[in-house]
């Protein structure tokens, strides 16, 4: 590659196609993920129209197997499992995605700031993160809900705070590496503000491990909500979330396998889809990778 190949006659700027779309066209798994997630989102939104029964309506038809009347059977209180899963979709998806979004926003910002500024700022932030690291994530969430009470918002905040440390550590370690790059020196020399340096020059080069962590965390968030529900610290007993349905069904797994399998399958499909989407985003956002 020599500079002699530069031809001054070629003075056009060809438009580039969007990398996201180009890479999506060749990525079957990402297409699957987007479609499945879209279907779940629609199911969540239109649950009242799609469900045949009230999710909390108890009948004497308890733990009935799969049938035309109850496609996914009924639970120990005779509630229609399909209706419950449909109604649970909205809350479970919302919790899974919004907790991770919140944890990512807080954790990544803390990590960027700690890694970039170093010194006492780093010491304070990272000692706090170490403190949190010392506790199992779930204990922190339980503690926060116990103190601040149950409810959708509190559960979201509690689970996301529990995940903050993972994102902060990843972002900090990436920042420590990237701040030595000459383009970061260049950003300082050009007089760019610190937020611009952090969020425009460092963060985009650190997204790959953050996306991986985010996709993994979505599943933990959905399951975390399940665990909280199991302890009675979840969103609300009257709201059937996937985690709650799964936790309820656990006791009857030997008598009614469908109570554990179907909500579990729903969680698995969502997590799998989000992982596929995450892989696609990671590659699509890395401009150094060749678009297929």
């Amino acid at each position: 590659m020599s500079d002699a190949t530069l031809s001054p006659a070629d003075n056009t700027r060809p438009k580039r196609r969007s990398r996201l779309l180009v890479t999506l066209a060749g990525d079957r798994k990402a297409q699957f993920g987007l479609i499945v997630l879209a279907l779940f989102a629609l199911a969540g939104i239109f649950a009242p129209l799609l469900a045949q029964y009230d999710p909390n309506e108890m009948t004497l038809d308890m733990m009935a197997g799969l049938s035309a009347a109850h496609p996914l059977g009924t639970d120990d209180l005779g509630r229609d499992l399909l209706s419950r899963i449909l109604y649970g979709t909205q809350v479970s998806l919302f919790i899974g995605i919004s907790t991770v979004a919140l944890a990512l926003a807080i954790g990544v910002t803390l990590g960027l700031v700690a890694g970039y500024f170093g010194g006492w700022i780093d010491t304070i932030i990272m000692r706090y993160i170490d403190l949190q690291w010392a506790f199992p994530n779930f204990i922190i969430a339980v503690y926060l809900v116990a103190v601040f009470g149950t409810g959708l918002l509190n559960v979201i905040v509690a689970i996301s705070l529990a995940f903050v440390d993972d994102f902060a550590r990843i972002a900090r370690s990436m920042t420590l590496t990237l701040r030595e790059e000459q383009y970061v020196d260049a950003a300082r020399t050009l007089g760019f503000s610190k937020p611009r340096t952090l969020f425009v020059h460092i963060l985009p080069n650190a997204v790959a491990p953050i996306i991986v962590q985010a996709t993994v965390s979505v599943s933990y968030a959905i399951l975390g909500e399940a665990s909280l529900s199991f302890l009675g610290l979840g969103v609300d007993v009257s709201t059937p979330t996937w985690g709650l349905i799964l936790a309820d069904g656990r006791s009857f797994i030997t008598q009614a396998w469908w109570l554990g399998v179907f909500p579990g399958l729903a969680i698995m499909l969502v997590v799998l889809s989000i992982n596929f989407i995450g892989d696609w985003l990671r590659d699509a956002l890395d401009v150094r990778q060749k678009a297929i």
């Binding site: 020599s2 500079d3 003075n11 056009t12 790059e181 383009y183 020399t189 007089g191 760019f192």
Partner: protein
Amino acid sequence: MTKALPLLEFTDVHVHFPIRAGFFKKEVGRIRAVNGVSFTIRKGQAFGLVGESGCGKSTVARAALRLEEATSGSIRYAGEHISLFTGEERIKFRKRMQAVFQDPFSSLNPRMKAGQIIAEPIRVHGVKPAGEVRAEVDRLLELVGLPLRFANLYPHEMSGGQRQRIGIARALALGPELIVADEAVSALDVSIQAQIITLLEDLQRDLGLTYLFIGHDLSVVRHICDQVAVMYLGRIVEMAPSEELFANPTHPYTRALIDAVPNPDPAAEAGRHIEPLQGEVPSPANPPSGCVFHPRCPLATDRCRQEAPDLGPVAPEHSVACWNAG
């Protein structure tokens, strides 16, 4: 030209990095990267700073750009202390002094297209109204000799020389007077080096730029610079106009550096007697007593081992820090 306005003045600048150890991060020593450096770059000059790796020349560049703060001494830009610039003044200073970095593979954000890289400073500092940014990017691309289609390429899609041209265009985006080029051509192939040097010379002529050119390749520095300072272990050991320095190298270290440049003429090279320097550059954490060069100097005397010589004149505009000079 010699009496032109002084643009960048270093006065007895020290940049030390503390070595910390233990739980309380106690300072156990210091890396004296820059240890009392003074020089003046006048408007329109190309000032060269040469020396082996680790001699502190890049730290001088970083201190000039305020990427490192000087431990002591003063750095003045157009007469004003750069360490006092805050807010608006700091931005104004950034617009006047820009940098071209060493490694064309690390100096450009890999996630941004060349056009975005050049446009960013123009937008952020409002150099041009939003509607004219694109035209300005095109103008800069032309200025550095790249076709406009490069605006849509990512750094990894370009060669080293092309990337360095983008780096130069970015530095020019703010319309600076002084450009610090820290080993700006060292990472490039020799043929590409020549093109970039020619570009830098053309830009200096057309835009009236001033350069602080840091390098270790004497032939490159000789070619582009009209004033050269030689650094060794954090100090300037000799400083003179380029022609004078290469015609009459006075410091034994300068002589050794010039001797080490191979002569392209094989006949002349064959008959040449070279006295290579013995030993290694000492650690800047623990510099030798007296003249820092004495452990490697063929002329060292007892005085050199005990007392450090100051930079003193041996001829008009030519100063040397050596007891045996003059």
